[in-house]
């Protein structure tokens, strides 16, 4: 595998300080190459979500170094990190977090408009492409309220894809879905990874989901025990 490294964690430590210091992540080091479909698993409370939020640059209170496409994320200010998230990272959470005031299409377009690299018409075309790829183009003009859980999650995936991110990070993306919808979401991820060489990092406690990914990182008590 001579693919470039997309994300690298280098000796990451993190502790909570309230009210006494409790270490939650201890010496986490690993890297993800382009096109990999990686899952992080572990029991509840093992620190896997905490790790994901550090990797996503939203949590900046940690020790160690985080490299995204070879660039160190330390010493960047809040605005620069927001820029990084906008351009290089796509998010899918357990809850869909769509804005109810906007249509499905507008929700998908928002991060693209924020990035501002393309004119609005172009962003709109891209957004429609993403919806078509995910098979939900018929929902473009609907409001998120009118959608089912599985549909909402697929819209969230389309939104994550809009800026062609280097990596998509997911926190329990199937946690709120039933078996059938969960399978659809998983298949969507799998297809993105296999056909589009999309890098994916998924936090999940669903062993079946994890089994079908390229690589599993298993965590326990704030350490990586197997990868």
């Amino acid at each position: 595998m001579n693919e470039p490294t997309v994300l690298q964690a280098h000796h990451i430590h993190k502790s909570f300080h309230d009210p006494v210091t409790i270490p939650v992540l201890k010496d986490i080091s690993f890297s993800i190459k382009k096109g990999e479909f990686v899952s992080i698993t572990g029991k509840s409370g093992c620190g896997k979500s905490t790790l994901l939020y550090i990797l996503s640059t939203m949590d900046t209170d940690y020790e160690g170094d985080l490299f995204i496409q070879g660039e160190n994320m330390r010493d960047r200010n809040e605005k620069q990190l927001a820029q990084v998230r906008n351009e290089k990272i796509g998010f899918v959470f357990q809850f869909h977090y769509l804005l109810n005031e906007f249509t499905v299409l507008e929700n998908v377009m928002l991060p693209g408009l924020k990035l501002g690299h393309l004119p609005e018409a172009e962003v709109k075309r891209h957004a429609e492409d993403r919806l078509t790829t995910l098979g939900i183009d018929s929902l473009a003009e609907k409001k998120p309220k009118q959608l089912s859980g599985g549909e909402k999650q697929r819209v969230a995936i389309a939104r994550a894809l809009i800026n062609n991110p280097s990596i998509i990070m997911c926190d329990e993306p199937t946690g709120n879905l039933d078996k059938k919808n969960g399978q659809i979401v998983f298949d969507t991820f799998k297809k993105l990874a296999d056909e589009n060489k999309q890098t994916l990092l998924v936090v999940t406690h669903d062993p079946e989901f994890a089994q079908n990914t390229h690589r599993i990182i298993e965590m326990e008590d704030g350490r990586i025990i197997k990868q």
Partner: protein
């Protein structure tokens, strides 16, 4: 691009809660409306009340006061020059009230750049004879044209024509109160006795009403020439020169200067009518205080609504931040919401304020004391509209500041993990 996107998001959030937005905007509209109407009305009243006295009062008055001579003989004598002299029972001297060389003084005044104009005047005590009764009064000999131009004399002549005292010989305009005491109508002849016991017959050509009852009971107006004739003086005789300046605040220094230059007694308007300035100032202060209080209350309304909106939109804020909106962008979105409430509410407020004040302006208001006033006075001063719009933006900005800051500091991790 970014600005347009932020505007778009702010607009969607605003319209999503349009009822709340409307309530907040109505709060601003109401307070700006009241602010404008209140200030316009208050200032209209101020102008009216000040005008009662200030419009008719000379900014600087030149006259010869009756008072003891400053130069007493004992002080002039060589023998006592070195000593300090106490003089008891000094009597006022002369009683010559004429201003010497009045023609030349008026010429000099008219050349002064600070002076808008000046009007000569003769004031003399007289008795009006009405059968067996003598009623004391004052005849003011005036230059009608100058007096009208500078001190709005014609506005206060309620019956007859002011200019008639100039054209008709031996004519007089009586104060309304004085006329009713004398039972005089226009066209009647009244008998006047001067302090020197000369008698004259004057024809009544008009009535005068100043709005100050005491004043109207004693005052009457005749032309300069008529007054000079009554007193048996030459056409040079003038007892007062009234000066109107371009800038009222220049009166005290100008008065001091004229005192030096012309060797006459002077009185400036600030000294004569100090209480009017104070009254106007206090009334204006109160109206501003009420207006600003209204706006602050509206500001609290906006603060509450924005706070609620932020709690409701926590999820949206979190995902906006997760997908690449920085804290400053979120801050701007909510500030924009606050400012647009202030802007649109304020504009409507200015409009309604104008409407309300023009309605007040049409309410009939007639009082015997104020002959020139038919409706409530309104001051349509653009400055109030300017201040109102600045205030509406300022209070909404301040009301939006804290909630926006709070929104910009929302930690997406806490919101997203909390689900």
């Amino acid at each position: 691009m970014n600005a347009r996107l932020i505007t778009r998001i702010a607009k969607s959030l605003l319209l999503a809660r349009w009822k709340q937005t409307l309530v907040a905007a109505i709060g601003v509209t109401f307070s700006i409306t009241m602010f404008i109407a209140l200030l316009s009305f208050m200032n209209g009243l101020n102008g009216l009340l000040d005008g009662l006295v200030l419009n008719r009062t000379a900014h600087v008055r030149l006259f010869n006061d009756i008072k003891p001579n400053q130069r007493q003989p004992v002080n002039e004598s060589k023998e006592f020059r070195g000593s300090y002299n106490f003089i008891r029972s000094v009597k006022s001297s002369g009683g010559r009230q004429e201003i010497y060389n009045s023609g030349a003084i008026m010429q000099a005044l008219k050349k002064d750049n600070r002076v808008l104009g000046c009007a000569p005047k003769i004031t003399t005590q007289v008795f009006f004879n009405d059968g067996a009764v003598n009623i004391s009064g004052v005849i003011n000999g005036i230059d009608v044209q100058a007096e009208s131009d500078l001190f709005h004399f014609r506005d206060y002549v309620v019956e007859g024509d002011a200019l008639a005292i100039k054209t008709a010989p031996n004519s007089i305009i009586l104060g309304k109160g004085l006329a009713s005491k004398l039972l005089a109508n226009i066209g009647d002849v009244v008998q006047v006795a001067t302090p020197k016991q000369d008698r004259f017959s004057l024809k009544v050509v008009g009535f005068f009403q100043s709005g100050i009852g005491e004043f109207d009971k004693v005052q009457s107006y005749a032309s300069l020439g008529t007054a000079q004739k009554i007193l048996g003086k030459s056409s040079e005789y003038v007892t007062d020169i009234q000066v109107k300046l371009r800038d009222l605040n220049m009166a005290p220094p100008a008065a001091r200067e004229y005192h030096q230059l012309f060797g006459v007694d002077v009185e400036d308007i600030q000294t004569a009518n100090a209480q009017f300035e104070t009254g106007s100032f206090i009334r204006t202060l109160i109206s501003y205080a009420v207006g600003v209080t209204l706006l602050i209350v509206a500001g609290f309304g906006i603060y509450n609504i924005l706070n609620m909106m932020i709690y409701e939109k926590m999820d949206s804020i979190a995902i906006l931040k997760a997908t690449g909106f920085a804290g400053i962008d979120v801050n701007r979105i909510f500030l924009l919401i606050a400012l647009s409430i202030g802007f649109f509410g304020g504009i409507l407020g200015l409009l309604f304020g104008f409407l309300l004040s023009s309605i007040i302006d049409r309410i009939p208001f007639t009082t015997a004391a104020l002959p020139t006033i038919k409706t409530y006075p309104i001051d349509y001063n653009l400055a109030f509209y300017f201040i109102g719009s600045i205030f509406s933006l300022l209070t909404t900005y301040l009301a939006g500041w804290a909630p926006s800051r709070k929104a910009s500091r929302v930690d997406p991790v806490i919101i997203i993990r909390g689900k």
